[in-house]
C-alpha cells in the first residue's frame, strides 16, 4: 500500500488544479521513485482528469516511470558534445560494470542507469551524474572507480 496521504498532500500543494498534473506527477516520482497506480488514480479522481489521459502523460514524458527506480540515479550525458567526446564508450562501460542495460535498474534496487540529453555542462564533456553530483571529463577507465565510490556506504 502506498502512502495516499502523501499523494493528497502533493495534489493540494498544486491546488488540485488539472493544469498542474505534470508537476504533481513530478513530485510523486520524486517521493516514491515511480508513479504508483494508486497515485495516478487518486490524481485522476481528484482533478477530474480521465485516467487514460493521465496514463498517456506518464508514459509520454521521460521523467516518469511506472516501475520503481533505483535508490541512486546514474545518468550518462549523451548530448552531442559528450557524444563526440566519447560518451558511448562511457555508457557501455557503465552497462558492463553494473551488469544492466541503459534504462534499467539493478536487481538490488540500488542503481538506475539512464541516458540524458545534455545537462548544459558541455565544457566538461563527457559528463556523468550520480544523484545530481556531476563527474566531468570521464573516461571509460574511470567507471569502476566511480561505481566503487557509490557502493561505499555514506
Amino acid at each position: 500500500m502506498i502512502d495516499i496521504e502523501k499523494v493528497d498532500e502533493i495534489i493540494d500543494k498544486w491546488g488540485c488544479d488539472p493544469d498542474f498534473v505534470i508537476e504533481m506527477f513530478q513530485d510523486v516520482q520524486d517521493h516514491f521513485r515511480y508513479i504508483p497506480r494508486k497515485a495516478l488514480e487518486r490524481i485522476a479522481d481528484r482533478t477530474g482528469k480521465p485516467r487514460g489521459k493521465l496514463f498517456h502523460i506518464v508514459t509520454f514524458y521521460k521523467a516518469f516511470s511506472l516501475e520503481p527506480r533505483g535508490e541512486k540515479e546514474i545518468q550518462v550525458c549523451m548530448g552531442t558534445a559528450c557524444y563526440v567526446r566519447g560518451a558511448p564508450d562511457v555508457l557501455a562501460a557503465m552497462e558492463r560494470e553494473l551488469g544492466i542495460k541503459s534504462g534499467k535498474t539493478t536487481a538490488d534496487g540500488k542503481f538506475t542507469l539512464s541516458e540524458v540529453r545534455c545537462l548544459g555542462a558541455c565544457g566538461m564533456a563527457p559528463v556523468v551524474t550520480v544523484d545530481g553530483r556531476v563527474y566531468g571529463r570521464v573516461g571509460s577507465s574511470d567507471i569502476p572507480g566511480i561505481i566503487r565510490e557509490m557502493r561505499r556506504p555514506q
Binding site: T80, V84, R96, A125
Partner: protein, 622 residues
Amino acid sequence: MTIDELRDIRKRALESYGRYEAALMVCTGTACVANRAFSLVDAFRDELKKRNLVDRFLVVPTGCNGFCAQGPVVVVQPEGIFYAKVSGADAEEIVEKHLLGGEPVQRLHYRVNGVPVPLMKDIRFFAKQKFLALRHKGVIDPEKIEDYIRVGGYQVVYDVLTSGTPTGVVDEVTASGIRGRGGGGFPTGVKWRSCVEAVRRTGNEPFVVCNADEGDPGAFMDCGILEADPHSVIEGMIIGAFAVGASQGFVYIRKEYPLAMKRLVKAISQARELGLLGSDILGTGFDFDVVVHRGAGSFVCGESSALMASMAGNVGEPRAKYVRSVEKGYKDMPTVLNNVETWANIPLIMEKGARWFAAIGTGDVTENPWNGSSGTKVFSLAGDVRNVGLVEVPMGTSLREIIFDIGGGMADGRKFKAVQTGGPSGGVLPEEKLDLPVDFDTLTKAGSMMGSGGMVVMNDKTCMVQVAAYFVNFLKDESCGKCTPCREGLVAIGSILRRIMEGEGREEDPDLLREYGQTMRESSLCGLGQTAANPVLSTLSYFREEYEAHIMEKRCPAGKCKMLIKYDIDPEKCTGCTVCASRCPVDAITGSPGKVHVIDDTKCIRCGLCREVCNFDAVEVE
C-alpha cells in the same frame, strides 16, 4: 514599490559595492559548479572571515563566465585579473598575495604557449566577443536582486510603463530587427503585432511565455543566461506583456537545468517581494505576474504548440498550425512565445534604442526585419575545440572566427573535420564552409541552420555516419508519434544507417536516405519532423565518400564503427607494461610482463578501453 524606492535601492547597492577594495567574481555556472565552484566560494569566504577582511573584500558567486574550458574561473575586479582552474586550496594564496600583497598569483594565470595572460580583456577568447544578452555575466550575483538593480535593472521597465505606449514598444522592437533566438528567426516585433491584432479582433486576454525548454543536445545558451542573469528575462517579459496587454506570463523550463530553475524561481519571488511583479508594478497601475512550469523530459515540448499543451497539463503533442499560436495558443488564447535569449535582449533594446541594436549584425533591418540578422547571438561552443564555452558574437561573424579565433582551434592537436550547428534540426558543415557568416539565413542555405546556437566541433576521429545516426536515434526517441512521416520515417532512416554502420549497407542506400528525408521534410506536421533529416542530408552532401567507404569498402575511415574495425597492438611500441591486459573487461589481451601483448579478436568487444589506458599509444585501430 515606487520608482524612488527603486532608485534608493540602487543608490545603496552602489554605495555598499563601492566600499569594497576588490571583488572576487567566482563563476558558479553549471560547468564550474561541476568542478566544485561552490566549495571555492566557501573557501574564499572562510579565508576572508578568518583574516577579518569581510569588510574590505567581496566574494560574488556569478553566473557562467563563459570560458568553461578553464573552470573554475575567478575574476578579480576592478582590475579584471583572470584566474583559471582555481581550487579551494588556492584561496589562501589569492587572498594573501593578491588581495593583501597586490601581487597577482602568477601560476594561476591563463597561459598561451606558456606565456601568462593576466587580464581577462587580453585573452583572445573574450576579445572578439560582444556581450548583449550576456551583459551581466560575471558582473552580478544572479541570486541577489539588489545586484541587478545596482547595474540599472528594472529602470527601463519603469520608463516604458510610464512614458511608453504598447504600440510604441511593438514599433521599437520591430525596428530593432530582432528575430527569434530560439532558432526560428521569426521577427519578434511582427509576432507581437499579430498578437495585438488577435486580441483586438477576439477580445481575448493574451499571455506571454518564455521558452526555456532548451532541448538541443550540446546547447546551453539559455541555461547560461538564466544562471547568470534571470532578472533580465523577467524584465523583458514585463515589457512584452505591456506591449501586448498581458497580465499573466509563464516560463517553461526543462528539468535538466536545476541550477537555472533555482535561480529563476528565486528571481521571480524576489521581484514579487519588491513589487516588480504582481499588481501595480512600480506604482504605474500595470499588473503582471509569472508562473514557472517545469518540463518533464520531452524534446518536442520546445515546439510552441506542444509546449502550450504541456503547460496546460497535457501530453506535449504539436498540432497542425493552420492557426498560429500567437492567435490561438495557451488555452486557445493569443500567446506570445519567445525564447530566453530573445527576452533577455528586450530591456536592452528599449534602453539603447532600436537604431543602436539594428546597427549590430548584418543587413539593414530598420524597414524590414527579414532583411538581415541584427544584434548578437549566443553560442555554446563545444566538442573537440580547445576553448569550450559560452560565446556571444555579433551576427555575421564567421564560423572560422568562432572556432579558430575565439575557440582557439582544435583540441588534442587533431584536425578539424566538421562543425554541427543548430542541433538535431541543423546539419554538419565541412572545412570549406567555415568562412560563411553565421546568421539566420546563410547557414540554412548551406544545408544546416544557425538554430538556437549549439555548435559542436568535430575532429577527424568522428564518423559522420555515426553522427547522422546519433541525431536520428535522438529524434526517434523524442518524436511524439502523432504524424506518420516523422514516426515511421525516423525508424526507416535509422535502420538504413544502422546497416551501413554494420557493414551491410547497400549501394542504393544514400539515394534512399535522401528520398525518405525529402518526404519527411515535405509532409511532417511540425518542425521536428520537417527538419529531422537535416543531419542525414547534410552529412550525405558533404561527406558522401565516407558513406561510400562504409558501403562499398566496408570500412569506417574514422575508425569508429565497431563492426568495421579491429584493435591491434603495435609490437614496436608495446612495452609489455600489462596495463591493457589487466583492464580489459573481457580478458581478450594476453602477454606477460615485458613481452609484447596480443589482442584476441574473437573475444574483443571493441570497447576501446585498452587504447584509452595505454601510455605508449601502442593500441591501433584498423
